[in-house]
Amino acid sequence: MPSSATRDDVQRLLKEGAQLVDVLPEAEYRDEHIAGAVSIPLKKLDRQTTAHLDRNLPVIVYCYDLF
C-alpha cells in the first residue's frame, strides 16, 4: 500500500536514494518540476515507461498541488 509522504519525508527519502517521479502532463513537467524528478505522466504510466526505474528503491510520485 502506498504511503503518504510529507516534504520532510521526501527530502529524507531523496537523500537515501529514492526516485522522484512527476506524473503531471509532459508540458507541465517541462515548465517546472522538482529538481531531479523524472517525467512519467499518469496516462503513460505502464511497465514500459517505468522500466528504467529501480524496483528495489523507493519511488515518490507527485503532482501539482496542495491548494
Partner: protein
C-alpha cells in the same frame, strides 16, 4: 492524480511507493530547488517580501510595534501565536488613541493570495483591481508576507525593481 499513480506503480511491482500528496506547489512554497523552462521567479512565493511588521490581537495600539508603508499608508498585520493572519491595521487607525485595543480597530480578514499563485495571474488581477500590493498566506492562513505588484512585474520582465 498522484494517489492513482502511486497505486499504479504498486501494481507494476514497486514495493516502496510514496505519494507526496502536497506536491509541486508545496515544494515551491518552501523555496526548494525546481527545474524547467519556467522555474524560478514565476510564483508569489518567489517574490513575496517576508519582512512584514506584525502585532498580536490582544495588545494596545501603542504596543503594535513597527509599520510598513504600503500604497502610501502605514500598515501592520495582526497575527496570532501560530502566525495566522487575523487582521490588518492600516492608515488612519494609527492616529487613534494609543490605548485602543488592536481588536477594536483592525480590519478583519484582509484579502490574501496563495503562495503558489502564478505571477502572471497576480499581475492581471492586481491591475484589474487597481491595487499595488497583496498579502500572501498559506491555505491554513499562515501569513507569509506582502507581494508588491512592482516586484511581480519585475520578475516577469515587465518593470524595473523598486
Amino acid at each position: 492524480m498522484s494517489p492513482r499513480a502511486a497505486w499504479r506503480l504498486e501494481s507494476l511491482g514497486f514495493s516502496k511507493v510514496y505519494d507526496y500528496v502536497d506536491g509541486k506547489a508545496d515544494w515551491a512554497v518552501a523555496g526548494l530547488p525546481r527545474e524547467g523552462d519556467k522555474a524560478g521567479f514565476n510564483r508569489a512565493i518567489d517574490v513575496v517580501r517576508r519582512d512584514v511588521p506584525t502585532c498580536r490581537l490582544n495588545v494596545l495600539l501603542k504596543d503594535a510595534g513597527g509599520t510598513v508603508q504600503v500604497g502610501g499608508k502605514e500598515m501592520c498585520l495582526v497575527v496570532n501565536d501560530e502566525g495566522i493572519l487575523l487582521g490588518r491595521l492600516r492608515g488612519a487607525v494609527f492616529e487613534r488613541d494609543p490605548e485602543t485595543p488592536i481588536e477594536e480597530i483592525m480590519e478583519s480578514g484582509p484579502t490574501t493570495i496563495r503562495p503558489d499563485t502564478m505571477l502572471q495571474d497576480i499581475c492581471a488581477r492586481m491591475e484589474k483591481r487597481r491595487v499595488d500590493s497583496i498579502l500572501v498566506a498559506t491555505e491554513t492562513g499562515r501569513l507569509i508576507g506582502i507581494l508588491y505588484r512592482a516586484d511581480a512585474e519585475w520578475a516577469l520582465g515587465e518593470a524595473e525593481p523598486e
